[in-house]
């Protein structure tokens, strides 16, 4: 059974995604790290689906749909921010900082 190895890999990939979000300053790269985390969650879903029935795989569909919607809207937001500030470096996007 591949459940335990799959969950291990899923955990490692999720931690890598978190690490990327915390370390990078480029908004697009941070966004890609979020996608990495979503994929780690998908791997866990598929691993459980092998044991507990097909519902986990159905859920992966919905995660993919949400990820696609998120990518479209998020990248549009990044484009809009870039037009205003001429940068996607989060260091320089500090309008809400007190």
């Amino acid at each position: 059974m591949l459940l335990e190895p799959a969950l291990t890999v899923s955990g490692v990939l999720f931690a890598l995604g978190v690490l990327g979000v915390l370390l990078r300053r480029n908004a697009i790269v941070i966004f890609m790290c979020v996608e990495l985390m979503l994929n780690a969650a998908n791997l866990a879903f598929v691993a459980f689906a092998q044991q507990l029935g097909v519902a986990g795989q159905i859920f992966v569909f919905f995660v993919m749909a949400v990820a696609a919607a998120e990518a479209a809207v998020g990248l549009a937001i990044i484009l809009a921010v870039y037009r205003h500030r001429r940068t996607v470096d989060l260091q320089n996007i500090n309008l809400l900082k007190g």
Partner: protein
């Protein structure tokens, strides 16, 4: 150790290493391409976990559509050129590594918790093929499926409005 497990760990190692490369490369284009490698390796893992259709979707939707969208935006913003690194300083590195390591520890502990006894159901033969995924999708999960289409419509409208020249 049987063959499946060896193949599994080979692709798992590829996924983790290219994920590591994805978060450490300076150029956003290199990051995106390493992420594509990770997604392909994950697709291989999905096949090994009896989810063939999900693996196809992974390649088509993630590695195909979503990553092309990312690369388009990177090229559009002209971020491909080499510049000073956008990795934070040594303090940020330490804090980030610590937090991610903490989370990893938590996830590994959770992994040892195990399933409830008697929870393993032998999947029917050919699980992961299209019929066994499509039938529940259009019966039990029909309403969430339809709501997903509304979500996608809202995302399309939102993206068009946001990307308009004059906000």
């Amino acid at each position: 150790m049987d063959g499946t497990l060896i193949i599994f760990w080979a692709f798992a190692g590829l996924a983790v290493l290219s994920g590591l490369a994805c978060i450490t490369r300076r150029s956003p284009v290199a990051s995106a391409l390493w992420l594509v490698v990770t997604l392909f390796a994950l697709a291989a893992l999905f096949v090994l976990l009896d989810a063939q259709f999900i693996a196809v979707l992974q390649v088509l939707v993630y590695a195909g559509a979503i990553m092309v969208l990312f690369l388009f935006v990177i090229m559009l913003l002209n971020l491909g050129r080499a510049g000073p690194t956008d990795l934070k300083g040594p303090l940020g590195l330490g804090v980030g590594v610590f937090l991610a390591g903490l989370l990893l520890m938590q996830l590994l502990v959770l992994r040892q918790a195990g399933l409830a006894p008697g929870g393993t159901v032998r999947p029917p033969l050919g699980q992961g093929m299209i019929p066994s995924v499509a039938r529940p999708l259009f019966t039990v999960y029909l309403v969430p499926f339809e709501i997903t289409s509304i979500l996608l419509l809202a995302a399309i409208v939102g993206a068009v409005v946001l990307a308009k020249r004059k906000l």
